[in-house]
């Protein structure tokens, strides 16, 4: 009987005290009394997880596009009904990335009518991946329906995406988190390519070209999961993108850092800067490939 008791105690201890995958600065353990300022959360920061989390910006490319005063187009986003065909977790997670990026685009352009439709799609995909607890559909729906407090709608949309992606990493499903991030990145780049075809600017040209640096890190992430189902096909697609980027050159020039004020806020202007050299032909090739691969991935 004593042996049995000891076994249970050891088992419970192992279950509740395992701090597996804790590294770096996040491994300090302390006793925290209950306080209304705090909530409990498990942190998991494997090296690959840290790279995945660094990409989490589902709205940035849309904000860049809006800054260029380019009109909104629904043709640039994935139709909501396409998600009905997503059957595997691979497709659902990748789709969640595409739709989260599109939700960012809709939010930036304040398209509240369409937002509701996309919220429903994201809700369904997050339900299927068991991360719906981080997607506050009711509040988002209320904010979108009432068209009030659009800043809150934006905040909640982006933070929901971040929290869903984080939860996947914390529950040993980093491959799905990586797919969400991949979907966001590809959809953002697709948007940039489509807009650049419609209204070419030097800004967008450089932004598309500079994605070569980000792609390198993203390749490390997806190659890490090469043994997982369907990743081999995804890697092959991304290797094509890598190839298209091969001739794009990115050099770092030295410069002097500046301290200025913007809107009364202390601002550092980085000294060193990137020089992106991408020809129109290279840009065309990259754009065509991005559009082709994105269209293939949303539909298969």
């Amino acid at each position: 009987m004593i042996k049995k008791i000891l076994f249970y105690i050891i088992l419970l201890t192992a279950l509740f005290t395992c701090n597996c995958n804790e590294i770096d600065d996040e491994d300090e353990i302390d006793y925290f009394p209950e306080d209304e300022l705090f909530e409990t959360e498990i942190i998991d920061t494997g090296p690959i997880d840290r790279i995945i989390s660094s990409f989490s910006t589902s709205v940035e490319m849309a904000a860049v596009i809006e800054n260029l005063n380019v009109p909104f187009s629904k043709n640039y986003i994935v139709p909501a009904n396409v998600a009905n065909n997503y059957e595997t977790n691979f497709k659902k997670a990748l789709g969640l990335g595409f739709y989260s990026s599109d939700l960012g685009y809709l939010n930036i352009y304040k398209k509240t009518n369409s937002i509701l439709e996309y919220l429903k799609v994201i809700k369904r995909l997050s339900d299927d991946l068991d991360i719906d607890q981080f997607f506050d559909f009711q509040t988002l729906k209320r904010l979108a329906t009432n068209r009030e407090d659009l800043d809150s709608l934006m905040f909640l949309s982006v933070s929901s995406y971040n929290r869903m992606s984080k939860n996947l990493r914390e529950t040993s499903r980093s491959d799905l988190s990586a797919l969400m991030v991949t979907g966001v990145w590809l959809e953002g780049l697709y948007l940039a390519c489509k807009v650049n075809n419609f209204k070419p600017t030097q800004d967008l040209k450089e932004r598309i070209g500079s994605q070569k640096v980000i792609l390198r890190d993203l390749m490390d992430v997806i190659k890490f999961f090469k043994k997982k189902p369907d990743f081999a096909k995804l890697i092959r697609d991304f290797e094509q993108i890598e190839e298209a980027y091969e001739e794009v050159t990115i050099t770092i020039e030295k410069g002097k850092k500046e301290e200025i004020m913007i809107d009364g806020i202390p601002t550092t202007v980085q000294g060193d800067f990137t020089v992106v050299t991408v020809s129109d032909e290279q840009l065309k090739e990259i754009s065509e490939l991005i559009i082709k691969i994105r269209n293939k991935l949303i539909s298969y």
Binding site: F16, F32, E39, T40, T57, V59, F155, V158, S210, P266
Partner: protein
């Protein structure tokens, strides 16, 4: 048998109660409040961490990697619970500009809880949130916000 069940129940309760509080971060309401301090900036992500009490010669804190894009103005904001405003620092750095010796910027350098960063080089950067030197006399949580201000003109 009854005794066994009670022992197991108490043991698990004790272990779970202790562990559940180990990884405490700031609540989502605080993250939202902090994000709205960005004014005309668009929230991109947050850096939410606990800061444990430290001895004067020790450090406590967390660091994250973040991808920033050239040609973009980003805003960083640090929020802490009341009473910790002057005790915590948020630092932005990269491999060429180390956290301790020559960071790109920090709330100490900016002399406040907010600063902008005009990124001119796409790539991986680091954000850390730590207690300032000798200020870690009691535990707390802290939130950093990264938001998008606009493109660099």
């Amino acid at each position: 048998m009854k005794k066994t069940t009670i022992i197991i129940f108490l043991a698990s309760l004790l272990i779970f109660a202790q562990n559940s509080d180990v990884k405490a971060q700031c609540k989502q309401q605080m993250v939202y409040r902090c994000a709205t301090e960005g004014k005309n900036a668009i929230y991109l992500r947050d850096f939410n961490t606990k800061l444990k009490k430290t001895k004067p010669d020790k450090e406590s804190g967390t660091k994250w990697t973040v991808v920033l894009n050239a040609g973009t103005v980003y805003r960083f904001i640090l929020c802490t619970p009341q009473g910790f405003e002057d005790k915590v620092v948020l630092t932005l750095y990269d491999s060429q500009n180390p956290e301790k010796t020559n960071p790109l910027n920090s709330t100490i350098k900016a002399k406040g809880s907010i600063f902008n960063f005009v990124c001119r080089k796409s790539g991986m950067y680091y954000v850390s949130i730590r207690f300032k030197k000798d200020k870690g006399d009691s535990k707390t949580c802290a939130v950093g916000i990264l938001s998008y201000v606009g493109k660099n003109q």
